[in-house]
């Protein structure tokens, strides 16, 4: 056969399949930090623009040795835990009810849609009046902020539970509560957990807002105080703590997913 007519079929497949590569994320972080360090040392970046990373680390070390870190961290984590658990618990229950009952769905879906876009921070003064300037208003703000995304994620997840599985449960004579507990809830769990990632990130954002009023200690209070004094090193030390908190929360949810959702294909 003619040589010009014989050639291998060109490869056209492949790609569109990103995989996680170890260490790349860390390398991006380290590069950015080194760049900032180098820039601030050479004067290319002025001290007013960005604090020197090594100074932020030093401030962080100070926080640690003086014991102030935990003095700020413990109340913040408590507010986060109480507020987020409240919001998530009420949100998941409401989401399931919306997912299962026509009247509740028709009544509450518009209400949730109306509440979702309200910046919860704007309601802080109102919460202070309703729940007091102490911990109550902080719990309420975080709870309210996590509630709406949790509701939306949960009822979406309940809607997506395979109806044939529910019919199957009915065909075996399972009662309503059994079907909810053994079929609807586990079936909705993937959606609920991915909603939880968003809700908890929002909870961390709102933590700072919640500590704007009437908080002496707390990461948010610490950041706001540093910000008003234009103390960039302390501001960034606080921001780093929030970022780390976000990474920890996301890792924990990842671990829960791995454990609870190992059945997924």
């Amino acid at each position: 056969m003619d040589d010009q007519q014989t050639r291998p079929v060109p490869f056209r497949g492949g790609g569109f399949r990103p995989v996680a590569i170890r260490g790349v994320g860390l390398a991006v972080f380290v590069t950015l930090l080194l760049l900032a360090e180098w820039g601030t040392r050479t004067g290319w970046i002025s001290a007013l623009t960005l604090p020197r990373p090594s100074d932020v680390v030093a401030t962080f070390g100070e926080l640690w040795t003086s014991g102030m870190l935990f003095k700020h961290l413990v109340p913040s984590l408590t507010r986060l835990a109480v507020g987020a658990s409240l919001g998530v618990a009420v949100g998941v229950s409401t989401g399931i009810l919306i997912g299962l009952f026509s009247y509740i769905r028709s009544g509450l879906v518009p209400l949730v849609a109306a509440l979702f876009p309200i910046p919860k921070i704007a309601l802080l003064p109102l919460f202070v009046i309703w729940f007091g300037i102490d911990e109550g208003s902080k719990y309420a703000l975080i709870a309210f902020g996590t509630f709406t995304p949790t509701v939306v994620a949960t009822y979406g997840a309940v809607d997506n539970v395979d109806r044939t599985l529910i019919r199957m449960g009915q065909s075996f004579g399972m009662g309503w509560f059994s079907i909810v507990r053994k079929i609807v809830l586990p079936g909705a769990m993937p959606g609920i957990l991915s909603g939880l990632r968003i809700s908890l990130a929002i909870a961390i954002i709102l933590l700072v807002a919640a500590e704007m009023l009437g908080a002496e200690y707390g990461i948010g209070a610490y950041i706001l105080e540093a910000g008003s004094l234009y103390d960039l090193e302390r501001l960034f030390a606080g921001v780093v703590i929030l970022s780390l908190l976000g990474v920890v929360v996301s890792t924990v949810i990842g671990a829960i997913e791995k454990r609870l959702l190992s059945w997924r294909v």
């Binding site: 044939t164 199957m168 065909s171 004579g173 079936g187």
Partner: protein
């Protein structure tokens, strides 16, 4: 326990899907329902098992379910309907959990049906690890576990490839031969119907009516793949259905 369908009519809004259905389902025998697609045979099966309410007419249970029967009318679904988060044994146990069985009894039942369906080695596997054929075996085991008076099979082999289907048909025949059960078996596959049915009810296209009930006397265990007698019955069924199947195929959906 026998089942009797009397004067059944069913419509979705104004669209009639079943009309004038009278049917006797005697115990210990397998009744196959065949018909062109969209003739309402799956709807009929859902009505028989109480998963849907007919517009008119009724389905009657004649006589008491046998002793030890936990769920008289038990389905096997086309898409298996296994809970993906439960193991094989956990899925089989699902139907038993609703009944307050003496301690240890559920484990005995699960072990027994696993053995009968040759699944004992897979007790701790998750559905995602199983092939389609194995998944349907699990669903059949789950149905057998509650010791049903009537098994309602809704195209149980339609999601499987031809070879697996043949294997599962042999399994069903040997299960029936060892312990005869009552079954209503919906299928569009005429070869399955002539292999498994003691009688075969042919439905017309929508609205579904019963056109003919063909009975086969040859024992199930003697029916083999490509049997000449069965081929003749299958040919007869196909002549009954051919034109209707063509018309049903050419119909607009939701027209």
């Amino acid at each position: 326990m026998d089942l009797r369908v009397e004067g059944l009519r069913h419509a979705y809004d104004a669209l009639p899907v079943l009309e004038g259905i009278d049917l006797d389902i005697p115990s210990g025998r397998i009744l196959c329902l065949v018909g062109p697609s969209g003739c309402g045979k799956s709807t009929l099966l859902r009505i028989i098992g109480g998963l849907e309410q007919p517009t008119e007419g009724k389905v009657l249970q004649v006589g008491a379910p046998p002793e030890g029967c936990l769920n008289p009318l038990t389905y096997v679904f086309q898409d298996f309907a296994l809970l993906p988060w439960r193991t094989v044994a956990g899925n089989i146990r699902l139907g038993l959990e609703e009944h307050r069985l003496p301690p240890g009894r559920a484990d005995e039942i699960v072990a027994d049906v696993l053995a009968r369906t040759n699944l004992s080695d897979f007790a701790d596997a998750l559905p995602k690890q199983l092939s389609g054929g194995m998944k349907q075996r699990v669903a059949i085991a789950r149905a057998l576990a509650v010791n049903p008076a009537v098994m309602l099979l809704d195209e149980p082999l339609s999601a499987l490839d031809a070879q697996t289907r043949e294997l599962l048909m042999e399994d069903l025949i040997s299960l029936w031969t060892r312990a005869p059960f009552t079954a209503v078996y919906v299928t569009h596959n005429l070869a399955e119907a002539v292999r498994l049915g003691h009688s075969i009810a042919v439905l017309s296209r929508r609205p579904g009516r019963i056109r003919e009930i063909v009975t086969l006397d040859k024992p199930l265990a003697e029916r083999i793949h490509m049997d000449a007698d069965l081929e003749a019955v299958q040919e007869h069924l196909w002549t009954l259905m051919r034109e209707e199947a063509r018309a049903a195929d050419a119909e607009l959906l939701h027209g």
